[in-house]
Amino acid sequence: MAHDHHDHDHSDLSETELRVRALETILTEKGYVDPAALDLLIETYEKKVGPRNGARVVARAWSDPDYKAWLMKDANAAILSVGYAGRQGEHMVVVENTPKQHNMVVCTLCSCYPWPVLGLPPVWYKSAPYRSRAVADPRGVLKDFGVTLPADTAIRVWDSTSEIRYLVLPMRPKGTDGWSEDKLADLVTRDSMIGTGLAKEPE
């Protein structure tokens, strides 16, 4: 489903385009929406809210054991202290990857995702392949991402079926002792915070 818009032919796409444009016209004419508010909503999730937010949280947790303890205990307060909160992140839980356990987050029923720290979900996260397989074959899904975990690393899949939102705290790569939070944050990928990837290795 969601990833197949590339396959749509042009007329189909423009039909959708026209439909959305017509809807916006109707709603603006009726005074239900403020076009300036629409622009601001788009700008917020296009420019301001994205996985760089989560990367800062992770980098701080890697750098400061007290912060990490706080993050694991009261994720919302600890994330707010870095400046992030709000819609689709009202009830955060952080789950930590270790050599013994790898965590992966999915929403099999729709597309629940922690917006304040990761932004809007990528197309694959909302797609049928991911939603169907993450809970039944997480190792196979990891393979699709080019990730192979040791056979004895347990995998824990979190299906976001309520308003609790999960953020994965990836393992800190080796060879990064003494790195600044900014430098560490560059190693933290979006996928590593969903659990379909690992943090980047230092070059």
Partner: protein, 219 residues
């Protein structure tokens, strides 16, 4: 409802295809569809659970053939038509025809930041004690409501262990039906993959769902 949106464990959808350097939106209309859906929540007066139900009520073949934001737009149209905020005639003509239905509030640009920051917390105080605590074994009820539920099919009837207790939260099933918040205790329940998928499943895998107390019975 037992819709095609409830995808956990289905086969045949193929591999996951990540897109390198994926942008937040793939076409200008997706941006507008996203923003219209968010902005209409306030004048529309529906809640998140009602929107989810509107989307998953799309006929299965259509749901699977639609892109993500096409599903959003269809859901939004359904919600607005149901409430008489717009008419089928207006959709066809692409312009407002009748007078607007009075709405309590619309989302102004000045309020966007505040509204997003506040979000929609679902935790509620309750005087009712929790029936279960961490470590308890529970069985997920076998329920098949034609209305909205957040209990996926792949865990129904299965036994798991309470892992986290989240306090009381707005109960999605009641909320989607317009029956109020009806807060219920919410738990994270963890299952061994072999319990869900059979003896051949990977013994190192476990899966959890978040489940409200009405979904659970002692095991």
């Amino acid at each position: 409802m037992n819709g095609v949106h409830d995808m956990g464990g289905m086969h045949g959808f193929g591999p996951v295809v990540p897109e390198p350097d994926e942008p937040p939106f793939h076409a200008p209309w997706e941006k507008r569809a996203f923003a219209l859906t968010l902005a209409m929540g306030m004048p529309g007066g529906w809640n998140l659970d009602m929107s989810r139900f509107a989307r998953e009520s799309m006929p299965p073949a259509e749901y699977l053939a639609s892109s993500y934001y096409e599903i959003w737009i269809a859901g939004l149209q359904t919600l607005m038509l149901q409430r008489g905020l717009i008419s089928q005639e207006e959709i066809e003509q692409g312009h407002a025809r009748g007078a607007a239905k009075p709405v309590a509030r619309i989302l102004s640009a000045a309020d966007v930041e505040k509204v997003l920051y506040r979000g929609g917390p679902t935790a509620r105080d309750t005087d009712t004690p929790a029936k279960f605590s961490a470590g308890d074994r529970v069985r997920m009820k076998n329920i098949n409501p034609p209305t909205h539920t957040r209990l996926p099919r792949y865990v129904r009837g299965h036994v798991g262990t309470i892992d986290l207790v989240h306090g009381a939260h707005v109960f999605a099933d009641s909320h989607a039906r317009g029956e109020g918040e009806n807060p219920q205790w919410l738990y994270t329940v963890r299952f061994d993959a072999r319990e869900l998928w059979g003896a051949d499943a990977d013994p190192t895998v476990s899966v959890s769902v978040d489940a409200w107390e009405p979904y659970l019975e002692p095991a």
